[in-house]
């Protein structure tokens, strides 16, 4: 059976990279005594799939991974056991059973994610930045120069920004995420800096991912809502 686990990553844990978070959970699941299934062979490993890797430095309230279990107790019990095995800064928020099979893999389902971005004190690009956000988003096209190792390419990121607005002295963003289209919040904010004529200082923003979504029949659904609580 496959379960989907939602967790938050905060505090110092934001400095732990994606691969290390995977390793961390493999050990945590063993400490918690969950009956995880393993692959065959000389170096068996847990069958787990993470939804959307989070960059180092970002915190999150909506991280997901799927895990194959041989047997399960209840969602409540397993959440409790996992949280008993966590380091400060990582908290398991939900655990639901999801359909087996490749098509329902967390990673391939991801369509969008919400972010909340704040400027670190003194690193705002201009005094009236809050009022300029709407202007930035109102543009017909938002061209950004995307640098890869080999080339520089201009892309229009506007279609990938599904929402952008001021919220609580920060910026709320809903961005296309996943294998088809993927837009990083940093890029949106860099574009904003250029737009107001003030390129951002390094580490000007602190970003938190709030939720990760799948798309179903045209609407976005949090990944956890695609499963059932094990009662």
């Amino acid at each position: 059976m496959k379960v989907r686990i939602k967790f938050a990553k905060t505090g110092a844990m934001k400095f732990i990279g994606h691969l290390d978070v995977m390793r961390y959970f493999q050990k945590a699941i063993r400490r918690a005594g969950l009956d995880a299934a393993y692959s065959e062979g000389y170096s068996p490993h847990m069958i787990m799939s993470f939804a959307a890797p989070l960059g180092v430095g970002l915190t999150s309230q909506g991280e997901y991974f799927d895990l194959v279990l041989n047997s399960a107790t209840t969602s409540e019990d397993m959440i409790q056991r996992l949280n008993g095995a966590m380091a400060e800064g990582i908290q398991v928020l939900s655990l639901v059973q999801v359909e087996d099979g490749k098509a329902s893999k967390a990673m391939s389902l991801v369509a969008a994610a919400d972010y909340f971005v704040t400027f670190r004190e003194g690193k705002e690009p201009c005094a009236d930045w809050e009022s300029r956000i709407a202007d930035y988003y109102a543009q017909e096209r938002i061209p950004i120069v995307k640098k890869t190792k080999r080339s520089e390419m201009e892309v229009d990121i506007k279609p990938m920004i599904q929402e952008m607005r001021i919220y609580n002295h920060g910026v709320f963003l809903r961005l296309a995420t996943g294998s088809a289209n993927n837009l990083k919040p940093e890029l949106v904010m860099e574009g904003f800096g250029t737009f107001v004529g003030q390129s951002l200082e390094p580490f000007a923003v602190q970003t938190e991912r709030l939720e990760t979504y799948a798309e179903q029949e045209g609407s976005l659904i949090p990944l956890a809502d695609l499963g059932e609580i094990i009662g």
């Binding site: 110092a12 063993r30 000389y42 800064g89």
Partner: protein, 621 residues
């Protein structure tokens, strides 16, 4: 939530920020208001190396069992962060509380290899603690050194307030109690050091005075006060079963060198190889109880969630309950997908059977450490492994499907000749030939033999502590002899050869048998920018040469001469248990090419029996 010592900006710019944030599973947090002693335990190398060290975790666990002590960790900031900390004057901090080290009562540094000496100065300097013990005041932490290099602490004498000579389990807590008592009494730093110097195993360098003869050798080494002992008794934890061992080792977030739990099955080694310092230092061999080890293995795996366990000891095949232990580990944990990583075992039917259960034969390799290429030289070094035994073991393994072999040797051993060097190539060839005796259809492609040589460095408290070393060019020419001889073997295509750098060997040799006059050199080279000498990319032998010259210290004095057994050695003030007479006897026997039986075959009266336990009393109770 904890406040981190480094800002987000700094952490986001350095490589692997996880090295500096603490917060790992099983790391210990306490309320500093309720603590009497704050102890910073340091391994002076980068996080991934430091966290792989068992001794550090044992002391960490032991000190933290006490409610009045909080032991935290501190490691060498990598060169990127080092630069930032110097630029911004950020004081070095402990991983747990993120508080500056300079606020601690103790800074304990485990000294595992000579090439970390400049890193020790880096730690002190970044902590904003005066480099010289004599310049420290009442509010500075007491800097205490421990670990194998403290069996000759003299090259570091100026930088440490005290050294702990021996295994940490016995006197660390009494030392902490003395500190508390002195503090309660309102005693000074000096008062405490006098108290400490009277605790067995504690060496306070400032209370000893050294004088030299005209030829540069030691004339005398004496205490400066009457209330200070002249000899330091090395500490040994005789009961290795009912003692401290971390049931909850720390689980790093990032991949470290030893990414697994470690089960130390015994201390010491019965073999008595004459080049091996650990083999002499940790006498007598003491086994841990097998039932207790089983329980420890289970607790550690459960508390960490680690996927791998490895056994640790100097010679695991000599552990008398090895079969029982391994059978238990395989039966109990293989289903739970725990990897059992085997220490290098003597290759025989038993170990091959075990290996075939826990490893992929096609991928795993057989390891032999003959250390010397000829039987003659193996007799000199007292390495009991014969060519016959190697070929037999390898043959059985090849027939069982193995095809990879690793061979370890040393070059530059006392009495070594060109024939001995070439013998390395011949032994590798003989193994290859044994492989190709197997009919083509039955064997598993070509065999791969990897020969590695390191250069021998004589260490204190070994029978070879009097031996000479050689110039760098000589080492390299010996490696070349081996290389050419391998290239002229019939099966040379199946043999790969690796050798070590010689610059490191030479410096390691100088520091290993050095004296107090080297303190100035280490400080000088550190001030010129040397750190991370153990890392090839940061090791600059030329800078060291310049510092030797600047301090008017002749490096050759320490390595390019055979010492007389009459000479007063800088480490002679330590009572090791193993006596100097025994070492002299072994040094003479070595040169007669005569082997000494191991402790189980026959006691050779090395002196360690005075600790009244372990192998010295086995079967005699």
């Amino acid at each position: 939530m904890r406040r981190l010592a480094l800002s987000d900006e700094v952490l986001m710019t350095v490589e692997k920020p996880a090295r500096y944030i603490g917060n790992e599973i099983n790391s210990v947090m306490k309320d500093k208001e309720k603590i009497d002693i704050r102890f910073a335990m340091c391994f002076p190398d980068v996080y991934e190396i430091s966290m792989s060290h068992l001794g550090l975790q044992i002391i960490y666990d032991m000190l933290n069992t006490r409610d009045d002590i909080w032991c935290e960790r501190v490691f060498s900031p990598w060169t990127d962060l080092d630069g930032v900390m110097r630029r911004d004057q950020i004081p070095l901090f402990a991983l747990e509380s993120q508080d500056p080290i300079k606020e601690f009562d103790f800074l304990g540094i485990t000294i595992q290899y000579e090439m970390c000496y400049t890193n020790i100065l880096q730690i002190l300097d970044l902590s904003q603690i005066p480099l010289h013990a004599k310049d420290r005041g009442e509010n500075d932490p007491l800097v205490i050194g421990g670990g194998p290099c403290t069996y000759n602490p003299e090259p570091l004498a100026d930088f440490f307030d005290l050294f702990y000579i021996g295994e940490g389990e016995t006197q660390m807590l009494p030392l902490m109690d003395a500190y508390k008592a002195n503090k309660a009494r309102g005693g000074s730093r000096e008062d405490f050091l006098v108290m400490a110097a009277n605790i067995p195993g504690i060496y306070v360098p400032r209370f000893y005075e050294v004088s030299y003869k005209e030829d540069g050798t030691l004339a005398s080494f004496v205490p400066t006060r009457e209330d200070i002992p002249a000899k330091i008794q090395k500490q040994v934890q005789m009961d290795v079963t009912n003692t401290y061992y971390p049931m909850k080792p720390i689980v790093p977030f990032i991949k470290v060198t030893q990414d697994r739990v470690t089960l130390e099955i015994q201390r010491g080694c019965i073999r008595g190889c004459r080049f091996c310092q650990a083999g002499m230092l940790y006498r007598p061999t003491r086994e841990r109880d097998v039932n207790e080890l089983k329980r420890w293995a289970k607790s550690m795996l459960e508390s960490t969630g680690q996927e791998e366990i490895s056994l640790s000891s100097l010679s695991s095949s000599d552990y008398s309950q090895l079969g029982e232990l391994l059978t238990y580990l395989i039966e109990e944990f293989q289903d739970k997908k725990v990897n059992i990583s085997l220490p290098s075992l003597r290759i025989d039917a038993f170990s091959l059977d075990i290996m075939s259960k826990v490893q992929d034969i096609k991928k795993s390799s057989l390891t032999f450490a003959p250390e010397a290429g000829s039987q003659r030289l193996r007799d000199v070094i007292n390495k009991g492994l014969t060519e016959e035994v190697i070929l037999e073991g390898a043959g059985t393994a090849f027939e069982g499907g193995w095809s990879k072999v690793k061979l370890y040797f040393m070059l530059g051993l006392p009495t070594e000749t060109e024939e001995d060097q070439k013998g390395i190539a011949h032994l590798a060839e003989a193994i290859a030939e044994r492989y190709y005796e197997i009919p083509k259809e039955q064997r598993n492609g070509k065999c791969q033999i990897t020969v590695s040589t390191s250069f021998f460095v004589p260490k204190p408290f070994t029978p070879f502590q009097w031996a000479t070393m050689f110039p760098k060019e000589e080492y390299l020419s010996r490696a070349k002899t081996v290389k050419n001889e391998i290239r002229s073997q019939l099966n040379q295509k199946s043999i790969k050869y690796n050798w070590h750098e010689a610059d490191v060997t030479v410096l390691e040799g100088i520091l290993a048998r050095g004296d107090r006059r080297l303190c100035a050199v280490i400080e000088d080279v550190y001030k010129k920018g040397a750190i991370f000498d153990a890392w090839n990319e940061y090791f600059h032998p030329d800078e060291w040469q310049k510092s030797f010259a600047a301090c008017s210290v002749d490096p050759d004095f320490y390595i390019m001469r055979e010492r007389s057994t009459e000479e007063l050695l800088p480490w002679d003030f330590i009572d090791m248990g193993v006596t100097k007479q025994f070492l002299i006897r072994e040094w003479e026997t070595a040169r007669k090419e005569v082997v000494t039986p191991n402790c189980r075959e026959k006691c050779s009266g090395c002196g360690a029996a005075k600790f009244k336990g372990g192998v010295c009393v086995e079967g005699k109770n």
